[in-house]
């Protein structure tokens, strides 16, 4: 990417980490799937017959003119991919990404991971929405049920597998997902969408964008959806219904040619249901199972200012993010995040570019406990400081591109951390490139890993082999001694544009993890409150697991005919995570068997006359041995049709091969997993 980003930076009206990611994408979009050749039929044979005005109205296909130039495993989901796949939510869209594991737990819960360690509380994946990190300091994961946008307003979703810690910092261990919405300038006018499906789901959204003055554009939106309960493994209706309302805005202003400003915000509220099993001190069952209802609410406000100089650019981004979790019988939490980031890009001569930045993040957390989940202290204030520097140099007449950099950060749990990486990209021919990278990343402790007590289950009195006269509570404890998890990752990649219609992108990786979290048994504690007296058998968070994972992720795209595209990916993942010799953790090796070893995704996209777009998608997900989940195929179809330019109709079906199947079983909090059913849906989008 020697020349592209250098000249691109001044125009990239986005800041902070997005800026850098943007660079990756600029070259990548050309290769990966491209905001595609939607309607080649409107491209004229002789463009000289058209006026400038007409030419400016034609959508062009970004041809895959050259092999993408990023030394990282990047995959881009375009707006077209989202529309044509029929994805109803961000997690559904992520199912098409090689190297990711996506599983639905129930209607409102997802397990999403990159290169393994999948789980509801996966803590090695960083997710950003328009530059705002949405990971929760509570468990270093993502509340997928509160992350949403109007899908039609998404410009693209960039997914980087592998460590991104040098730029994004701690927790960008196994991957970064960057959801980027369109600039307000590109969402002018009105949009009304409605969708309904056989899974008794309905979704509506309204968006309106307009111009305010000469240089300022804005949009406002509202979105509502309602997912009716699914079914449990016996076929009975479950309690996992979910409905949510959200609204927000975005303003983009080019104050002067050198200065641009973005302000955006969202507010949301959702109600969810689940079937929960919690330990209870009441005999004879010592557990209780009941339908549980709760709600999440929150909002965010972000401002970003970008200034370009002749040979450098700066960006300053600030945001506030509030999340309230109210699960009345288990856990309540209010967290506020204040974040400020500054970044400076400098061109040093013709072949070198230096990027550095500073960041500060303040987190305020207040929580309310129950017998099942308790977090100490019940309120905390955390301050994170970070700095990073990265240099990119072109060597050997731009044929070799080297990136060296490191992040340095300070967190309240483990103090200083540094996360360096080295990436080398070599251009072999115009059509082929190879890359390799070595990076270190850390996953810093979450609040729960420091001060949690989670009562998982109760062994009734007199149960062999313990034969305890008192009930024994098996509990997971956090520990102030818990340290960061470490990763040293080795990646190589090869990309080729074999013919003008066929491209292939292969990535292989080996990840070496140390100090992963284990649960070490501690000395039993006698507790008498609440009554009656019971014994707590603690399993304390410790860093006594390590091991390696490796895998290969090929992705190919073939335009069989100008109007017929096939794409497919395969993801192979092998995990060998083991407890260290000094670990006494008796729990089974969950991480190894909870992520599928083999996955593939195959898609056929046709462009028929009259804007008819049929798509067929086939997905295979291997078994999850430790969760007893069998492998499955999922066949989806989607037909889009635009009878007139203002109206888009769609019809689709999901999971045609199975009437229903289970995808995952959640860890830690014992909520009932529900089955994904065969679904048919239809939708309408009207623009004005």
């Amino acid at each position: 990417m020697s020349s592209i980003p250098k000249n691109n930076i001044s125009l990239m009206a986005s800041a902070g980490r997005i800026l850098l990611l943007g660079m990756l994408s600029v070259s990548q979009v050309a290769n990966v799937s491209a905001s595609g050749p939607r309607s080649p039929q409107n491209v004229p044979d002789d463009p000289t017959k058209l006026s400038l005005e007409d030419l400016m109205n034609i959508s062009v296909a970004k041809r895959p003119q050259k092999v993408a130039d990023s030394a990282a495993a990047v995959f881009v989901i375009t707006q077209e991919d989202i529309r044509r796949s029929g994805a109803a939510s961000i997690p559904e869209a992520l199912r098409m990404v090689p190297g990711l594991q996506v599983a639905r737990i129930d209607e409102n819960k997802w397990a999403i991971g990159s290169r393994g360690f999948n789980g509801r509380f996966d803590n090695k994946l960083l997710v950003l929405i328009d530059g705002r990190s949405v990971y929760t300091p509570l468990f270093s994961g993502v509340y997928w049920n509160v992350q949403d946008v109007v899908l039609e307003d998404v410009e693209r979703i960039e997914v980087i597998r592998g460590p991104g810690a040098t730029l994004w910092g701690a927790n960008a261990v196994d991957g970064v997902i960057n959801i980027i919405t369109k600039s307000a300038k590109n969402t002018q006018g009105g949009l009304v969408t409605a969708e309904a499906g056989s899974e008794e789901r309905t979704a509506e959204s309204v968006r309106y964008g307009a111009k305010a003055g000469d240089k300022t554009y804005y949009r406002v939106y509202g979105k509502y959806y309602d997912w009716h309960p699914s079914i449990d493994t016996t076929g009975a209706t479950a309690s996992d219904g979910w409905h949510a309302l959200r609204s927000g805005f975005r303003v983009d202003s080019n104050i002067t040619t050198a200065n641009s400003l973005t302000i955006q915000g969202d507010i949301y509220h959702d109600n969810f249901g689940e079937t929960l099993t919690v330990p209870s001190l009441t005999s004879p069952t010592f557990s209780s199972t009941y339908p549980n209802n709760g709600y999440n609410s929150g909002g965010d406000l972000l401002g970003r200012w970008t200034h370009s100089f002749a040979r450098s650019s700066t960006s300053l981004q600030m945001y506030y993010d509030r999340t309230n979790i109210a699960d009345p019988t288990v856990f309540g939490d209010h967290e506020s995040v204040y974040d400020i980031d500054f970044q400076h890009d400098i061109h040093l001569g013709e072949n070198q570019e230096l990027v550095w930045g500073l960041g500060y993040r303040s987190i305020q957390d207040n929580n309310g406990s129950s017998f099942t989940v308790a977090l100490l202290p019940d309120h905390s204030s955390l301050n994170h400081y970070s700095a990073f520097v990265q240099d990119e140099v072109d060597l050997l007449k731009n044929r070799v591109h080297v990136t060296v950099g490191s992040k340095f950060e300070h967190n309240p749990f483990t103090g200083f951390e540094f996360e360096p990486n080295v990436r080398v990209l070599g251009t072999l021919t115009k059509e082929q490139s190879i890359w390799a990278a070595v990076s270190r990343a850390v996953r810093t402790p979450a609040l729960t890993e420091e001060g949690l007590q989670l009562n998982e289950a109760i062994i009734p009195p007199g149960t062999p082999p313990l034969n305890s006269p008192l009930p024994v509570v098996e509990a997971i404890f956090g520990s102030p001694l818990f340290g960061s998890e470490d990763l040293l990752a080795y990646e190589v990649g090869y990309r080729v544009q074999a013919t003008s219609s066929f491209s292939l992108d292969v990535t292989a990786f080996y990840n070496n993890y140390t100090n992963l979290r284990s649960a070490e048994p501690g000395a039993p504690i006698l507790q008498g409150s609440p009554f009656p007296t019971y014994v707590v058998l603690p399993f304390v968070a410790s860093n006594k697991m390590s091991g390696g994972t490796y895998g290969i992720e090929p992705f190919a795209e073939w335009k069989v005919l100008p109007r017929w595209k096939l794409s497919g990916s395969y993801s192979f993942l092998r995990m060998n995570i083991r407890k260290n010799a000094d670990s006494l953790d008796p729990t089974p090796d969950i991480p190894n068997g909870a992520s599928p070893r083999n996955q593939f995704y195959f898609r056929s996209s046709l462009d028929l006359p009259k804007h008819l777009e049929p798509d067929l998608m086939l997905r295979y997900v291997d078994q999850l041995p430790s969760l007893n989940i069998p492998s499955y195929y999922s066949l989806d179809f989607h037909i889009g049709w635009k009878p007139i330019s203002k109206l888009q109709l769609s019809f689709g079906g999901q999971d045609l091969l199975n009437s229903r199947h289970l995808e995952f079983i959640p860890e830690f909090i014992n909520t009932l997993p529900t089955e994904v059913r065969r679904t048919f849906y239809g939708g309408i989008a009207w623009t004005f």
């Binding site: 020349s3 125009l11 905001s35 058209l50 959508s59 970004k62 219609s501 091969l657 009437s659």
Partner: protein
């Protein structure tokens, strides 16, 4: 529900195998034809060629820029050529006021002065300033397609936004080249000021 879809994995594989096999055979058969069909799938550059033709119509060269009334308009393509023959094909039999087009492929270091229009490829980003400098005062319409080029002294820069081609015009650079850009063209352009550091 539809019982036809109640298939076990094995049955499914048995069904899928012939489908996949047929698919592969068909694919191979299509493969050869697909390549030739696809080599013209560069709608972006077809459109950009259309832009260049329109620019040639809407830009006025100073007197003396052309030796005769029917001297051709020479378009130079500097660096890696993204048009791949499209532009030659499109402009082969076109003319503007009795002027035909001549397309030349140029490399960095070659003499650029004979051009009336110079398309500067992205590959030349590193020596853009030197290219601009070597053409100083000459009536050459420089056209780029790389973000930042207009600011750095290129007269017109094509940018693709949201899949549509837009263009930027650097008026100072046009003035220096003594080119007269029609108001119709300017009305559609995004005017970019010369960056102070590069103006020199």
């Amino acid at each position: 529900m539809l019982p036809i879809f109640q298939l076990r994995d094995k049955t499914l594989m048995r069904l899928l195998r012939p489908i996949i096999a047929i698919g592969i055979c068909l694919s191979l058969a299509f493969g050869a034809s697909a390549q030739t069909l696809d080599s013209f799938d560069s709608s972006e550059y077809l459109i950009k060629a259309g832009f260049i033709y329109n620019f040639a119509k809407l830009v006025g060269w100073p007197q003396g820029a052309f030796a005769q009334t029917d001297s051709p308009i020479v378009i130079g393509i500097l660096g890696t050529d993204p048009f791949g023959g499209i532009i030659d094909h499109i402009l082969a039999d076109k003319q503007i006021d009795a002027r035909h087009f001549v397309i030349k492929r140029l490399k960095w270091g070659m003499d650029l002065k004979g051009c009336d229009i110079l398309f500067i490829g992205s590959s030349e980003a590193v020596h853009l300033e030197e290219v601009i400098h070597s053409l100083k005062g000459l009536p050459v319409l420089t056209i780029g397609e790389t973000p930042g080029f207009a600011r750095r002294g290129c007269i017109i820069n094509l940018v693709v936004e949201d899949n549509k081609v837009r263009f930027e015009v650097n008026l100072d650079a046009a003035k220096q080249a003594d080119l007269n850009i029609s108001s119709r063209l300017l009305a559609l352009a995004r005017i970019i000021p010369q960056s102070a550091a590069d103006a020199r």
